[in-house]
């Protein structure tokens, strides 16, 4: 049982114990700087969180250990995050963490030690289907985390348990309260856990340095402003452009393109952001792969994005997705997750987007 010290994994652990499993709590130490929180920080990765997790384990009378995966995390998640931004992509570190840490490093280690499965406090559901275990959306649409679990391979899914997926967050909070878990009032952690101050641009600047370039208008080609690094811009972004002059028509301008070589950021009207088709690399098929002929599914490109109707198929080692309703502002490096109703079909990293219909 992966125990972060937060509400969700604490209730999940309690439910695992109630279900009669032989449960061992494991807290993952992911941060290299082992510090105590200031009591206000949104919880993840401080020593206080490890202590909270330990207290929950005590209460549930289960053994508890801390596994130090900070090296693996730094390499597979943080370095990857920085590198992706350097390449002008927009990665999702939670997804990467699930893929490389929680359901690879942790799961493999647990299986080697002859445990049967890893349980986590993610909001998602596993349903046993004819072709094997299926991953479905959680009942609570606000909390649903199936998107960030779209990176799980069938074998990983077969050894995963998500005890919370059938309930809403309110029920989980109430249950934490009823069970007397002190963490019941802890705030949810939303931010990127290794950037606790939430200043992603500052974090990237510290790691990538200043890489100045120009901000250019898509229509006139005019240079509108200078910037300190392309990594501060994501396709579709509107805020923080700090353009001195408004557009000729007074309409807001958005980041249309980020070019690494020339360090040029292009801005323009939102219509230019509409994506009609995309290609994903390194596809992961949750239960079974798609074939070469298109099927009607739903596609989602952000953790809390709206799923849109799409036609998708496999083409060699790529996932091809035609969006029947265009999605505005997709950056390379984002993950596309395909759904069949509530069922996750698979995911891939977006490598190509097509913006003309």
């Amino acid at each position: 049982m992966a125990m972060s010290g937060g509400v969700d994994s604490s209730v999940a652990a309690a439910r695992m114990v109630d279900a009669g499993h032989e449960v061992v709590g494991v807290h993952l130490a992911l941060s290299r700087n082992k510090t105590y929180g200031d009591g206000r920080q949104r919880g993840c990765c401080t020593l206080d969180d490890a202590l909270d997790a330990r207290r929950v384990a005590d209460k549930l009378a289960i053994p508890f250990y801390v596994w130090d995966l900070s090296e693996e995390f730094a390499e597979a998640v943080i370095d990857d995050f920085i590198e992706e931004y350097r390449l002008g992509h927009t990665p999702n570190p939670c997804l990467r963490c699930n893929e490389t840490i929680k359901f690879t490093a942790v799961l493999e280690r647990a299986l080697a030690m002859e445990f049967d499965a890893v349980a986590t406090g993610h909001y998602a559901q596993i349903v046993q289907g004819a072709a094997g275990p299926e991953l479905h959306r959680a009942v609570d649409p606000d909390k649903d985390q199936s998107y960030v679990l779209g990176v799980l391979q069938p074998r990983q899914l077969a050894h995963s348990i998500f005890p919370l997926g059938a309930d809403t967050k309110d029920i989980i909070r109430a249950e934490a309260e009823a069970r007397g878990l002190l963490v019941a009032q802890k705030p949810d952690s939303h931010d990127i856990c290794f950037i606790p101050d939430g200043d992603t641009a500052g974090f990237l600047q510290r790691h990538l340095g200043s890489l100045p370039g120009e901000i250019v208008d898509s229509e006139s080609g005019e240079v509108l402003a200078e910037h300190d690094g392309t990594y501060a811009f994501t396709i579709g972004q509107r805020r923080g452009l700090q353009l001195s002059r408004p557009a000729a028509d007074g309409a807001p301008r958005y980041v249309i393109d980020v070019e690494i070589g020339s360090r040029r950021v292009t801005v323009g009207p939102p219509e230019l952001l509409d994506v009609y088709a995309l290609e994903g690399i390194k596809p992961i098929w949750t239960t079974s792969p798609l074939g070469e002929s298109p099927v009607e599914l739903l596609a989602q490109v952000r953790a809390h994005g709206v799923p849109v109707p799409a036609r998708a198929y496999a083409h060699g080692d790529r996932m091809m997705v035609e969006l029947l309703v265009p999605i505005r502002g997709i950056a390379l490096g984002q993950a596309v997750v395909l759904y069949d109703g509530t069922r996750v079909v698979g995911s891939a990293t977006i490598a190509v987007t097509t913006r003309a219909a």
């Binding site: 082992k34 250990y65 080697a112 030690m113």
Partner: protein, 398 residues
């Protein structure tokens, strides 16, 4: 017979029934040992009798026994108290040198590091050989160098690998150079004879819970002629070196535990040495590739009799610990833990063990409740644990 085996007596050991009885008895009496009335006097009597008892057991004078809230405080008082005092009496604020072994417990190492970072102290870490032993020749050389040395601290025996250090010789060398010498004897008490009068160190740390007394009480046994700047200011209860109301019940129980440790030292050492040697012999015979760390002479006087410390190359120590825990064996990775996060041991690294092997290490330490049943349980559980833990490493390093 319990279905678990506790083999982590170097971390803490079971409280002795006599110590508990003394503790409860003293807790029945009302009175602050520093008060002047009858109640105060009777509480004070408990403290002073305990002090005299401990001094007699360790062959030193009662006036040198400074009670503290444990080994950690005693070590901090020795390291910082000596540094500040020496700097003050040198009449200048210029930084002084501190000689410290590279294998100290964190309760010595961290105050030394702190002095370096915050007071500008010049730290000289004394290296060790592959058995974790310091070199007296090198220490003599360091002592002979200028500029001024505030103190030298070398633990009497190492808590991780059990190596006993040549403290008698180091104390002599320090005395020759007029350098105060501190030794952390927390692990030694009860396992090795201690004659502090003969040793002549300026400060010696002991801790109650390692010998069957309660937690949170210990002592720094000082040469009353050596000055210490206090860490805690207040009522000045302990010769103005340490303030805070005496914990009379804990001190009474501590004295009982020390008396027991010293009176039974010889037979205790023999009993745990036999158990330890049996464990080492069988582990070396049954686990392929296992390495015994520390002084290999199991019959000589260079190793704590209750300590066994192994590396299992190809395994993660914390996986091993978890698997042995599940198999009913309480042992330790021996290294420092921050909220349960294992780190590679600075002791093993100082001995020249590589980082990976040092993370593959476990300590088993025996105490008075230990028996051959415990050895049998470890020997039975180890091969399976090693097998599974080695798979965790190969899957991690992918």
């Amino acid at each position: 017979m319990s279905d678990r085996s506790y083999l982590d007596h170097a971390a803490t050991t079971a409280m002795l029934p006599d110590a508990r009885a003394a503790w409860l008895a003293a807790s029945e009496h009302l009175g602050n040992p520093s008060s002047l009335h009858a109640a105060g006097r009777s509480a004070r009597k408990v403290v002073e009798e305990s002090r005299e008892s401990i001094a007699a057991d360790l062959k030193t004078r009662p006036s040198g026994v400074i009670f503290t809230a444990g080994g950690t405080e005693a070590n901090n008082l020795a390291v910082k108290g000596l540094y500040w005092q020496r700097q003050q009496s040198s009449g200048s604020k210029s930084p002084m040198r501190v000689l410290a072994s590279a294998i100290e417990h964190h309760a010595v190492m961290d105050p030394v590091v702190w002095l370096g970072e915050h007071e500008g102290a010049i730290i000289e870490w004394l290296g060790v050989d592959h058995d974790a032993r310091v070199s007296t020749t090198k220490i003599a050389e360091s002592l002979a160098q200028k500029p001024a040395i505030a103190l030298c601290t070398v633990m009497w025996a190492n808590n991780e690998v059990g190596t006993i250090e040549p403290v008698e010789r180091i104390a002599e060398l320090c005395k020759e150079q007029g350098v105060p010498f501190h030794t952390d004897a927390v692990q030694v008490l009860g396992q090795v004879p201690m004659n502090l009068g003969a040793l002549g160190a300026d400060a010696v740390t002991i801790s109650s819970h390692k010998v069957g007394g309660p937690f949170g009480v210990g002592a720094l046994i000082v040469n009353p002629a050596t000055g210490f700047t206090p860490l805690l200011h207040g009522g000045g209860q302990e010769r103005d070196i340490r303030s805070g109301t005496f914990d009379a019940p804990a001190i009474a129980a501590f004295a009982v535990a020390v008396r027991h440790a010293v009176a039974h030292q010889e037979e205790h050492a023999r009993a745990i040495r036999d158990l330890r040697n049996n464990l080492v012999e069988r582990v070396l015979a049954t686990v392929p590739g296992v390495i015994l760390n520390g002084d290999p002479d199991l019959l000589g006087g260079g190793r704590l009799p209750g300590n066994a410390h192994f590396s299992f190359p190809g395994c993660e120590g914390d996986s091993m610990l978890m698997l042995l825990d599940a198999a009913g064996v309480d042992c330790s990775t021996g290294s420092a833990c921050t909220a349960g996060i294992p780190e590679a041991s600075h002791v093993l690294l100082a001995m020249g063990v590589d980082e990976r092997t040092s993370r593959a290490s476990l300590r088993f330490s025996f105490g008075y409740p230990s028996s051959s049943v415990d050895v049998d349980r470890v020997v039975a559980a180890l091969p399976g644990a090693v097998d599974r833990a080695s798979r965790t490493v190969s899957s991690r390093s992918k």
